[in-house]
Subunit: 169 residues, 4 copies
């Protein structure tokens, strides 16, 4: 089973990569093949569904049996670079399960970006799992080595991955 993780921000000093690495470890622990699809590696200048970068992205989504998206919340919504990446593909998403990890500097766990993304993913015809993960106060949630400081997340990730796996036909 191959479930890549989209890292949805290219911003300098992005905190969400800590979440992406944490999730990557957990996905591997669950015996699932994974890889981080970093928006930095799929930069385009304008929304398009054509070109070499788009082709490379579509290949990844085609291979994927499900998808995890890690996204910070910028002004109550997703980063533009994430939307540009998501809009590169369309049919490739159809019918695949997807789970979202919201990331927030403050205390609301990215709850709003999760909701906005849900509507985009519904437009793709993806199967949304019930569980979302909310990472509040991300700067203090991980230590300098990237180790999560709140062990209760481990259990939630297990539930999240269980729902993703069950969704794969």
């Amino acid at each position: 089973m191959y479930i890549p993780i989209i890292l949805g921000t290219a911003r300098e000093g992005r905190q969400s990569e800590k979440v992406a690495y944490y999730i990557e470890d957990k996905v591997k622990e669950a015996g699932i093949t994974t890889k981080i699809l970093d928006v930095r590696d799929f930069r385009i200048e304008a929304t398009t569904t054509e070109g070499a970068i788009v082709k490379r992205y579509k290949n990844e989504i085609t291979k994927a049996e499900a998808l995890i998206i890690v996204s910070p919340e910028y002004n109550h919504a997703y980063p533009g670079e994430l939307k540009m990446m998501l809009d590169m593909a369309y049919n490739e998403y159809s019918g695949k399960p997807v789970g979202i990890c919201g990331v927030s500097a403050g205390g609301l766990g990215g709850a709003r970006v999760v909701e906005q993304l849900r509507l985009v993913l519904a437009a793709f015809g993806m199967i949304q799992i019930k569980e979302s993960l909310y990472f509040s106060n991300v700067e203090s949630l991980f230590d300098t080595k990237g180790t999560i400081q709140d062990a209760s997340y481990d259990e939630r990730v297990v539930k999240f991955l269980k729902q993703l796996k069950e969704g794969v036909k």
Copy 2:
């Protein structure tokens, strides 16, 4: 009074520029100074609030007394390049009136992108006018010279601009 128009897509063959030019004419007819802020002229590689391009954008928003956003609907939401541009500024938006023009290839007038944008603009503390404009079936709405084929839009634009102007303190 200076009310610029943000053109929110950089996509090749973008239809929304017809709407932007149409609105630009109407704003000028109303005696308001305007200019199209084209996302193509404010390209950045990653969400940021620093740098020369950002500074240029912030200057435009600082000068603006109100804002018009013209955005197509890609997968029920705004183009990534538009969000990247919007996220360049923050305090510069506060308290300024804003109106949205949704653009759609199909029949639903971009109703969904208008709603998603409203939440981003609320995060900026902008004053949202009640009237939004919905441009359905955009490819056939304008002729090859860019003239709108449905005269009923003119009246709606007048109402839209009236609300924007009244919102300026």
Copy 3:
């Protein structure tokens, strides 16, 4: 296969019942057992998950293998009586496919209520199908006998029901 249709408005003179009856016919034609769950038959005074009416509603949802929701758009969103009915159940919805029919007096087909409902249904862990149905200008869409005046809907309903049936495990 049992797929009931929720009729989401109790308003006097509601136009959405025409859509519900039309969908009911189509579901029967497809050989699926159905029934209209009318919000008028499940009135409560305050949001609750207890009592005889709630029990009756939960029984219906438990029996259902999938769900269709017909909802008008009141002020860009769902009627309160629909939300009161939906909130009566919770676990009963989990993992079941659901499709939404938006109904609108104007030209935007209830696109906004569809999006707001999607987020509520995601909270229930329902499986959302890709296709939604948009009924614009509902007052003129049906004749006085309730016959739809635009034959193109028939094809869309077939696609909608196909996705719903495929979603049933």
Copy 4:
């Protein structure tokens, strides 16, 4: 200045009334006339804009110079009874400032109900203030006498009321 507070749930054992009473005290402290408009006192059976209860509600909104809404988050959205009450009026809301207090049993402060309400209030043409208030973990946030246990809210309420007052023309 008269700014009533809408209490948006009629549910037995509702926790949101603690928030409403807390806000009521603060509004009074700020020298503003207020009153709680409790959904329990405006019950109707179906969405309507006619009748004695509706008339009473419209009178309140007509008198109001601004509005505060206190709403719990039920399944990521507002209670049905709140939407029924809001839909009783329309023109009465136009151009008036409004602020939202989200209430949540969990840790996300009702962030999602705030966003869904914003879209309804935009449809009414209300002026949304930037600041919203998020009451997380509401059951433990107040003691048995209804006293808030986290003093940092006081400062946020001051900012919230300041924006509301400034919005009143």
